[in-house]
């Protein structure tokens, strides 16, 4: 499977030199810790461009950073890959989350910190998952979100259920990577 990673030129050089990625972390990542990839090069490039613009704005470097897309060849073992767009995976995810809450209640426990991203990591550990993917709302096009989903009156009023999406692939095991190469280098 060919996937794409959007980043900045200096980070791309480091990744290529070491031939490995540093795992993204933090609760704002949707699918837990891992290497975030896209199956669409344009979406990876859009993310790289956004990251680059932010970095150039923050640091004002003499030589501005450039957006880069890396092409990543991944060999997938279906047994350790959870595609959260598939109905069976979605059923498993939500049923397990409910089960988790029931067990907590029975044991007299409550969650002090919880996000679905952390729960993805919890599931990955239990099931030894190496990759999780899911299609989500594209935050880069947040003005095209149905009003009823965001409750903000300045959004596109005629949208009903069609909104921009992006599919994330969160690779948790870098041993699945077969090859990394440059996919696209852009200018701002």
């Amino acid at each position: 499977m060919i996937l794409y990673h959007g980043t900045l030129d200096y980070a791309a050089v480091n990744i290529m030199a070491r031939n490995h990625f540093i795992h993204s972390d933090g609760t704002h990542h949707l699918l837990g810790k891992g290497i975030y990839l896209y199956d669409d090069m344009d979406q990876a490039f859009a993310l790289a461009t956004k990251k680059t613009e932010m970095k150039n704005h923050e640091n004002s470097p003499v030589l501005p950073y450039k957006p880069v897309v890396l092409k990543v060849e991944v060999e997938i073992d279906e047994e350790s890959y959870m595609n959260l767009d598939a109905l069976e995976s979605q059923k498993l995810f939500f049923n397990t989350r409910n089960k988790f809450n029931r067990v907590l209640r029975d044991k007299g426990l409550i969650c002090q910190t919880y996000t679905d991203s952390l729960f993805c990591d919890f599931l990955s550990k239990r099931l030894n998952l190496k990759m999780i993917s899911k299609t989500t709302l594209d935050p880069n096009q947040s003005n095209h979100v149905p009003v009823q989903m965001m409750n903000q009156k300045d959004l596109d009023p005629i949208l009903t259920m069609h909104f921009p999406t992006e599919k994330h692939y969160c690779l948790k095991d870098k041993t699945w990577i077969r090859n990394i190469s440059y996919g696209r280098v852009g200018d701002l």
Binding site: G108, L109, I110, C111, T113, D121
Partner: protein
Amino acid sequence: MNKYEKWNETLEQYFTEVTEEQLVKDADETGITLIKLKRFKVKSMNKPRKRFF
């Protein structure tokens, strides 16, 4: 047995066998913090007060 059946079985077994301590530890490893729910005794409003004559 397909992968979903295997995953369901693995999770079912985990939740059946896991102890409270182990669950707290496993959740903590992934950043989910679990705390013990404190139960407070609520005094019944219907209970008649003691009267001193």
